[in-house]
Symmetry: C2
Subunit: 498 residues, 2 copies
């Protein structure tokens, strides 16, 4: 005799299984970037495809629909689990399997074409693939006829619940605030102390190990490896993996590692009760990015951090920093200097790179921008926002991979994350006025605990907008971030005048 | 309109998917031993269980049975695929899921009890778990009522097609040949040159990298990592991963690495047309072990290998080997000295450790040996075969994990593999009389090619017994292995007399 299983119990088991498969797909991705011998690539692509298809099939199964309809929640946690799972299920069921496959295929083909186009700086090679990606995304959008604006459907995949109008408002205000600040930024500032090498990689590795230990990384739960395109992958609550990259000629590895640490810490601190369920991961791309950018910039470029870190930096590179002070380093890592390349941008101009991309992709979907006119539109905005002339399309519209893979709706989350990090930072400093002093003592635990309490532990139990309001006291608002940038630039100007 | 898929095509796709899942389970295992932070363990166990259950469920599905019945082969390869898959399917369907779970659970519990029992050398702590494992394996055997002898069903899982009587005959002849040879082995032989350290691990690593490059390992398709219990894991034809271990005080890392290389080379050389199918892996435990032991012992302890390797060994450890010759090292790595511990045994006495275990587990299943009498039976045979007194059960019957996990029928494959390696070696030397000279020149490719042609490439297309007959010209026969050992010991005695 088979004992009947309650729908809720069966649902939990099914969702745990799907979550396991998704985590394993993540491990396969990590392994591919970090460990796999190159000749494994073609096989790995098939293994990942098998796993992802299986995870998808087992989630969108009719039985899951029946269970979602029949399950009776026994706790608040169950209520959240059912709400989030029903939302995920409804979205996943709307999109035909053939369209998912077509999008994946066009993304892969687009990626290849983009790589060739970028090499020769020939946008025409890429244009038909971009058109195809846009066309397929329009069909995707059509699966959600209830949305007010087409872009809403794209944005919702990365920022659940956010509307295009919210993003337009926030990024527009960010742009209007940043453009004059960048124009007025001191042009005589000098970052030569931290660029132009040589910073031996072994010494960088040791320094980064010291920093990570201090911010709370231990060997029991964490790994750090090298990767060409750094990322963080959380395989399980006790298995958080960061990657970073090192260049002999600058110290970007510090900021890159702190960035990935921010992502990893978020996942590591999610309530363990949510593990093996759809609730047990970060709630959105922007909230994730708020954590990585907070550690990379608000912490990593703060006076307190450098008061603590400088002695370690000096012993890593004694010849370079022997005659210098922490203030010199702090100044150098905060220099603002526009560059046409997003991934090389400084903390302040970075936001404008993102705004530009958001505005252009929105115009592709909702405005009258034709893909053929994209390079010119790019150049115009680069001039308007950053005062830069783009040398060629390789350094312009072809620099990022996102559109080549059909990723639309993702770019704005970089800026929204930055905006949220500004709100969190303002709230944190209001509640812990001695935060910078704590950093100077090497005390980062109170920051980590605050973030855990107010952001991390919830996983997906709250919607992103709820997390922002509860943690910061107000809805999405670029004001605090702009204030933070303004204060930083004022201080830099004052130093130059003195 | 859905285009109907031919049963064969659908079957191939299903089997490819199951194979992908099995390979991913292997990757998860590799990652767990080699990369995973310790705190990931409990989650990993769940992830692996999910993946293994899914792979099993998707294979034993009714639909697979229908496809196996309906599929019409289009090539010889299809004929083999259908034959092997039908055999696997029939075996898998016979065993109820509950029994599989009970065995897995008892194995895990048994493992824990065994670890505690071994720590205190208290067999009584372990005995009830051993009884339970045996009882469950009797129920497993009962799923195959057609077998002549109960042990046949256990053996078949590791050596498809082999009967207990075959193993009894081969291991009995091996035992009768080895016991007098071990008794007569020179007792004055000295291995002090290669044990007792100190061999700095960094120098060992470099030496092993040199050896692996020479035998054919490249970074495109292979990895080598550290593991406490070394193993080889083939994730895909282009992704072969070896592990090894290093101790400061001996050079076992060389033999351990060559052993795992033998396993890896087998999988790496399987016909790529068999990839992503049940045919694309090694055919049996013994044939696999024949490859690992051939590289570890026949190659790794040969004169030619040490003529080539000695200069590299000397530059790795100049102080140790400065005043020595390759002959000194060759002699030292071939010393025969009985020890009560299997994993520390030399090449020659190793087989007797295995025979002892095979005879005891056979008596547990088919004879009148009660688990309570196992420690005494162990001591008796240790005395008879190796002339050794066992100090306590930790160094006796409790030394190996296999029975604790319910692994019965596996031990004899170690000895059968050794026997096959002897047959392969005799055939190889008959066909390439200058093989040892080739090794002396650092030329191992012709050996690898011969093994690939006669053993590796077939995957599971031939049964193990067919591979042995085709490759060596005769069925399973311990004669050539005993001749090999006799010649080696005669040469050692002759040296001592001179």
């Amino acid at each position: 005799m088979t004992v009947p299983v309650a729908p809720l119990a069966e649902l939990r088991r099914r969702l745990a299984e799907v979550t396991d498969l998704e985590r394993m797909a993540m491990l396969l991705g990590w392994d591919q970037e970090v460990m796999m011998p190159p000749a494994g690539a073609e096989w790995r692509a098939q293994q990942r495809a098998t796993l992802e298809r299986l995870a998808h099939d087992r989630f969108v199964d009719d039985r899951v629909g029946e269970l979602l309809a029949a399950a009776a929640p026994e706790s608040d946690l169950d209520v959240d689990l059912l709400r989030v799972s029903r939302r995920d299920f409804d979205k996943a069921r709307r999109v035909p399997g053939e369209l998912v496959e077509e999008m994946a295929h066009a993304g892969a083909t687009g990626h290849e074409a983009w790589a060739r186009a970028r090499e020769t700086s020939d946008f025409a090679l890429f244009e038909p693939h971009l058109r195809r990606n846009i066309e397929l995304r329009r069909r995707y959008v059509a699966c959600f006829p209830e949305v007010e604006r087409p872009y809403d459907a794209l944005l919702d995949d990365f920022e659940p619940g956010m509307r295009t109008a919210d993003a337009e408002d926030a990024l527009g205000r960010m742009r209007d605030g940043l453009v004059p600040l960048v124009e007025a930024a001191p042009v005589t500032a000098d970052d030569a102390l931290v660029v132009g090498g040589a910073f031996p990689v072994d010494a960088q590795r040791q320094l980064i190990a010291t920093i990570l230990r201090q911010v709370g990384v231990d060997d029991q739960r964490w790994r750090l490896d090298d990767a060409i395109h750094p990322f963080a992958a959380t395989i399980a609550p006790g298995d958080v993996r960061l990657t970073t990259r090192y260049a002999e000629d600058d110290l970007d590895s510090i900021f890159c590692t702190l960035h990935e640490f921010g992502h990893g810490l978020y996942e590591a601190n999610i309530d363990p009760a949510l593990a093996r369920s759809p609730l047990g991961t970060g709630v959105s791309s922007a909230v994730h990015e708020s954590q990585s950018r907070l550690w990379e910039n608000m912490v990593g470029r703060s006076p307190g951090f450098w008061r603590w870190c400088f002695p370690h930096l000096r012993s890593a590179f004694p010849e370079r920093f022997g005659g210098h002070t922490w203030q010199d380093v702090h100044r150098a890592v905060n220099v603002v200097r526009p560059t046409p390349i997003r991934v090389s941008a400084d903390e302040v101009t970075y936001g404008l790179h993102v705004v530009l991309r958001f505005e252009l992709e929105l115009a592709l979907f909702e405005g009258d921008l034709d893909p053929a006119d994209l390079p010119d539109a790019w150049r115009e905005r680069m001039r308007a926002y950053l005062g830069l002339e783009v040398a060629d399309d390789a350094q312009g519209v072809l620099q990022d991979v996102h559109w080549a893979e059909g990723l639309f709706g993702y770019f704005p989350t970089y800026a929204i994350g930055t905006i949220i990090s500004g709100q969190l930072w303002a709230r944190l400093n209001a509640q812990m006025p001695d935060l910078d002093e704590r950093f100077a003592r090497g005390e980062f635990a109170s920051l980590a605990e605050w973030l855990s309490e107010h952001v991390h532990r919830h996983g997906r139990r709250l919607m992103p907008a709820e997390i922002v309001v509860r943690a910061t006291g107000s809805p999405l608002d670029p004001g605090p971030y702009l204030d933070y940038v303004r204060a930083k630039l004022d201080a830099a100007s004052a130093r130059l005048i003195v």
